[in-house]
Amino acid sequence: MLETVAQAVINGLLIGGIYALVSIGVTLIFGVVKIVNFAQGEFVMIGMYLSFYLATQFGLDPLLSLFVTMPALFAAGVLIQHFLIRRVLGPNDMPQIFLTFALSLLLLNLALMLFTANYRTVHTSYSDAALHFAGLYVPVAKLIAFVVAMALSGALWVFLHTTDLGKAMRAAAQNRDVATLMGINPNRVFAVAFGAALALAGAAGSLLMPFYSAYPFVGQVFVLMAFVAVVLGTLGNVIGALVASLMMGVAESLGIQFVGADSGLIVVFAMLLLTLALKPTGLGGGRVR
């Protein structure tokens, strides 16, 4: 029994790490640029296809393709912010919602056209490997993904708290007008934030590739969890999103184990509703960090 619970917690934490990469991106964009990026899942999908083609065409290990997907998606993020998002930032939220939503639909359908709806997988030497100890097991590919995801989240936290650009980002998140008065160039800060968020999505794609299939709709699976995590952990709060993602992974896993295999999401959403009822600002206490 204890073994089963421990295994369920391990499973939950490992998948929670991937949820975290996606949700941190969403929350970063919301916190700094103040828009909801509905297309975040599609960038995970693009990251996966990039990894897939680098692996099948050039024999590059999906984990090493991190060094391609992250800069590529960072650049894409900066360009999207500069040429698209910047133009709709204003008092009215609607154009922003439509823009990112349209971007999501466009990327999804482009992917369907270019890559077809087939499932693509990459088989690596560690795809099926697992560490066994005390009756428990930890899949190697997921463990690597988890460790890298935590390292990237940590790096982002350090960046936000120690560098000038990071501090400027947090300042812009707290109060855009005052930040601008203090000499912070909001466009530059927004571009970096958007780029960093997409780089995280790209990283999620590369980290997923050794154990998950790429297909055009794959982003939708993860973005749903990301949005729940973002709300649960207070919109704009990076630490909150991270903690909430891990919690959700564990809740889902325990739900499947003890409630029913089709009830994993029920537990997650029950947790969300309960949190919103008792602590409407989310677990992060409504603070943007």
């Binding site: 089963t4 998948i15 991937i18 709806a117 299939s213 295999a261 089709d262």
Partner: protein
């Protein structure tokens, strides 16, 4: 430099119209030439009396849309099958008449299937039709064929195709037989099979799993876990954790491809000693192994045809490999068999008339040759258009090849216990 280019461009502008007209006229000439050639090949020649020498067979397959991948392979098989009949001398009772397959793309869509079937029948003088591989599409095509009184032969397994139809022929195992075969296969691995059934919570998953549950007591198979799951999950570990706790020694996964891949991989990671049977589905396709690799080793399933069931099937598969690059997958092989069944019927009917072909099909009894190269090795249609000798074949991935392992009569290798 740039100014120079601009001016030169401006100078060229009046010419531009002229320049454009050149390729246009070239295209027109090509179009005319193409038209003449096409008229020669498809229009004028039959009028000169070729019509008696070719017999048109319709082939309804999705070559675009979500089912295109398998559909394209089906078309390759359909063309190869007609070639094989023609190389062997065509339909001898009709003076060696050659088969001509007219393919129609039904675009993986039920509405298109209806209109395309209509169009195919009305626009051509057809003797028979085969298609569509996907049951949902075949059901519609069959309705249209019944009304038009054109026989349709299909590898689709839906039992509904055998209800109140006169022109629909199903020479291979029915869906209801698949569940039984799957249960019997669990006894290959263990004398006391303890089966965990996990199925996605959709219509497909629920109906298939209920079929298994109903037949399990009769087959003496114990089901120790029966669990629906949400299709399209991110992680199969919690589910497999549950399977492990249930103490099952056989796992039936009723899942679409992506979930199945995750399940198979997770079972490997857990190091769980369990036989996995994925039922019937896309994983019997050569592409599946290419995608999943060694994790697919040992995976079992059921199919309506397999490329190693007998010598004729192997010959067909060899030839298909040269055309298409992979072994003949179940639909490809069954299309070749179906084409030979149609040829047999035409031979005996000595007619290309769809009604006479239908009648000859209903009295078909083949137990040798390519027409009978399926599991059961004999084709004879009952009153419902169902092959009374049809049965599914149990298959397993072994060393990158899909091998028949069940029943004994069709088995080409012992079951690989993983």
């Amino acid at each position: 430099m740039s100014r120079e280019r601009q001016t030169s461009h401006r100078v060229e502008l009046p010419d531009h119209g002229l320049a454009l007209s050149k390729p246009q006229s070239r295209r027109k000439i090509l179009q005319k030439a193409g038209g003449v050639i096409a008229a020669g090949a498809f229009g004028a020649v039959p009028l000169r009396g070729w019509a008696a020498d070719t017999i048109n067979i319709g082939g309804l397959y999705p070559t675009t849309g979500s089912m295109a991948q398998i559909g394209v392979g089906c078309v390759a098989a359909a063309k190869m099958a007609a070639e094989m009949v023609n190389e062997a001398g065509g339909i001898k009772s009709l003076g060696g008449a050659k088969l001509n397959v007219i393919i129609s793309d039904i675009q993986s869509d039920t509405t298109v299937t209806r209109t395309e079937t209509d169009r195919l029948i009305n626009g051509n003088k057809l003797s028979a039709i085969h298609g569509c591989y996907a049951s949902a599409l075949t059901l519609i095509a069959s309705e249209v064929c019944e009304r038009a009184k054109v026989p349709i032969i299909t590898g689709s397994s839906s039992d509904q195709l055998n209800k109140g139809r006169k022109y629909t022929f199903t020479p291979f195992a029915r869906a209801s037989q698949f569940a039984q075969a799957q249960l019997q296969m669990s006894k290959l691995v263990s004398d006391k099979p303890k089966v965990a059934v996990i199925f996605e919570n959709t219509a497909f998953g629920t109906s298939t799993s209920n079929g298994l549950k109903e037949q399990a007591p009769g087959e003496g198979v114990e089901i120790v876990m029966f669990e629906p799951y949400s299709a399209g999950f991110t992680d199969a570990s919690p589910l497999i954790n549950k399977v492990k706790a249930s103490g099952a020694n056989t796992l039936f996964a009723i899942s679409y491809l992506n979930d199945l891949i995750l399940i198979v991989r997770t079972v490997k990671q857990v190091g769980l000693d369990i036989a996995i049977n994925g039922g019937s589905g896309g994983f019997t396709m050569p592409d599946f192994y290419k995608n999943v690799g060694t994790a697919a080793e040992g995976l079992q399933g059921v199919a309506h045809w397999n490329h190693d069931v007998n010598d004729d099937a192997q010959k067909v598969s060899e030839r298909f490999k040269q055309v298409y690059g992979t072994f003949a997958f179940e639909y490809a092989g069954s299309i070749v068999a179906q084409t030979f069944m149609l040829a047999d019927a035409m031979e005996r009917a000595a007619s290309a008339d769809p009604q006479k072909v239908r009648d000859a099909l209903s009295t078909l009894d083949a137990s040798s040759g390519y027409a009978a190269m399926g599991p059961g090795s004999r084709v004879k249609f009952g009153p419902e258009g169902k092959n009374v000798y049809g049965r599914p074949v149990g298959v397993q991935w072994q060393n990158g090849d899909l091998v028949s392992i069940f029943p004994k009569e069709d088995a080409r290798a012992p079951v690989l216990k993983t």
